[in-house]
Every structure is written in structure tokens, then in C-alpha cells.
Subunit: 193 residues, 2 copies
Amino acid sequence: MASEARTKAGGGRPEGGVPSDPVRDIAAAWERERPGTPVSSIGIVTSIWQLAKLFGDDRRRVLARAGVDTATLDLLSVLRRSGEPYTLSTREIGRRSMITAGAVSQRVARAEREGLVARHPAQGRPRTVEVTLTTTGHEVVEATVDQVLHRETELLDGLAPEKQAQLTDLLRTVLQDVQHRLGDDRLTHVGED
Amino acid sequence: MASEARTKAGGGRPEGGVPSDPVRDIAAAWERERPGTPVSSIGIVTSIWQLAKLFGDDRRRVLARAGVDTATLDLLSVLRRSGEPYTLSTREIGRRSMITAGAVSQRVARAEREGLVARHPAQGRPRTVEVTLTTTGHEVVEATVDQVLHRETELLDGLAPEKQAQLTDLLRTVLQDVQHRLGDDRLTHVGED
DNA sequence: ACTGCTACGTTTAGCTCTAAATTTAGACCT
DNA sequence: AGGTCTAAATTTAGAGCTAAACGTAGCAGT
């Protein structure tokens, strides 16, 4: 029992023996405990989940030093990237950041409180609110984005460029496929607005 | 402006033209707006992030129907997988689930309130608390795990088995590498205790 | 034996998210 | 014109998480 990540791989001791593989151990544990458990997705889903956690935690720490939080930087980045006049509807922000309308409202409210964005009703399109980057908000993006992206490039440095390209391709394929299967609704009305 | 995801790909309309690639568009937008921005990590990090979000949201919806939340199922699963006697220290739970000690305390408290786990001081090891699956907790795992894993297998069905294997391999490599670079501290004391 | 030290778990404050209820203001019928 | 519908944003309730402060209890050195 409790053989997971301990049996013979040495659980991380740097002795150069058999390389440990915690994710594979999870699938093996399910099969040992419940033969027939459908484990084939674990090697992909669990790795993705753990990588997202590692990258996310790291990004939070990097940004904390600059006094920003990840949710706010995400909002500012979406606006910055959209180009002049750095303005998007809240609806569009939600779609691009993959969060609910309520989350958009709260992100915008927080950022507005700090003077990073401004809100105003859209011309011609009723019931629509547009969000614009302020000068301060623009400055915050410029001061932090490179740091974050450069840091993440470093973290991936160990993987040969060729393999990085392979991985990028595979992930793009999976992402598109999964989006389709998850009823696509959040992505069908892209080209408009 | 706002050419992101709009320029010519048609933004998801199923017309069979140039396939849209929202992640690539993000890198392109940074380069257009801020030439020199280090965008090389985006194809990997952003895809991982979005996939984690899609899988996570979907899992939450699947589990909501069964009246469980993802954090609780994660706790129960770790215990279930560890095998008889379905018991782990809170420390070990935190390490395996990649969450802080405080988060473990809260997860365990919630699950204990619902009668899914029990807490008791460890024999022989002072200051250590062990958490055990109750019969009810065991039943909840059995009733839900297959559903979740099967669903995720389905979501990945579109990718040929060969490519799934390739992806699994690449992700394992990256995961190990990134963990090393992130000072490893959370993983060095694995085999012990 | 006494005094810090250290390793563990818990509690607290604050942030962020989702889902659901609520508000708001054009648009459509008759 | 007046009532209903609908599409948008916002607010609210509640779940989770992290970081940091706290409590606690063996242990080591003198």
C-alpha cells in the first residue's frame, strides 16, 4: 500500500536510477485498486492540470512582487493586445478570457477602483458596456508583461525547440477538438462585434 | 485593430476555410502591438491553461449532478488510490494534490462535516494527523470516478491513439523539467515519512 | 530541568470564481 | 401607446484557494 511514487522509483531522490513518473503512478494505482477503471485520459489530463497549476502559481508569485494580481493582468492584457483604442465590450472580454459575465463585472470593478480601466456605455449598441485601458493601466501592462512571458519562456527552456513545436501543435489540435465537443457555444459568435 | 480571431479565419464558422487558431492569434497580437515581446511560450502555456480550464469546468459540471465538488472528489480519490487502509497524513495529501497545508485542512474539514472522511492523530508520529476514508466516502468515489474519467476519455477521443501517446510523453517531459526548475522543494521529501 | 527551536496542523483575512437572482433598457406586438 | 420579451450587465451567496499568523508539542543544547 501507499506504493504510489515510492515503490522503487525512489520518489525524487537524485540518485539517477529509474526516473519517477508520478502521473503514470496515478493511473497504475487506479488499475491496482479498481481494475477496469478507464485510466487512458490520465496521462494527458492530469499532466495538463498540474502544469497549469505550476505555471499559474509561478505567475502569481512573479506578479505579486509587482503588486498586481493575475486576474487583473489578464484583463489589462486582453485590452492592450486588442490594439487602439484599447477598448472591448464586457461580453467580448468574457469570451476571450473564458470567464463568466459575473467574473468580468468583478474584474472590471476592481481594476476600475484602482484606476486601471474606465467603463462607459457603448455608442449605438444599447445595454452594452465598453471597457477602456487608462494610461496607468497601459503602463502596468508594459511594466509586467515581458517579465511574465520571459519567465515562462525560461521555464520551458529545457525542452528542445523542435519538441516545443511538436507540443504546441498537439496542444492546438486537442484544444480545438475539445472546444468543439464542449458545444462550442462560447466560440461561435467570434467574428462579430 | 481587433483583428485577433477575426482577420480571415472566419472565427469558427464551419466553412472549411483556413482553420482559426486563437492561441496563435494572441502571440501575433503581442508582436503587432509590442514588437519584441517574448511570445515563444504562449503556444504552450496558453493552450495548457485553456485546456485545464475546459477540463476543470466540465468536471465540475459532471460532478455537480452527483452532488460532489471537485475539491472533495480529489481528496477522496487520493485516499482511495492509496489503497488499504485508505489513510494518509495531511502532509502527504497536500503534496499529492499540490495544494497548501491550509487548503488541506479546509478540504478535510468540509469532507469530515459530510461524513466522508475521519481524522485521527497518527500512531507513533507526533504532531501528525491522519485522514481515513469512511464507508460513505468510499461509496462516493466508486459512484463517481468512472463517470469523470470516462467523460474525459471521450473528450480526448478525437486525437488518434498514437498522437495521444506522443502528447503524454511530451507533457511528462515538460512536467518533470518544470518541476525541477521550480525548486523541487515540494517533491524532495517524497519517499520518506 | 530549562530554554529556545522546529515541524506540524489549524485558523483567519482577503481574493477570485461560478451560478443564480436581479436590474435595466431597447424591441416587438397588438 | 402600453405591455411583454429579451439581451445585456450587475449583484449576491457560497465555494475554494493562498499566504500569513497562530497554536502546540517534541527535541536539542546547555
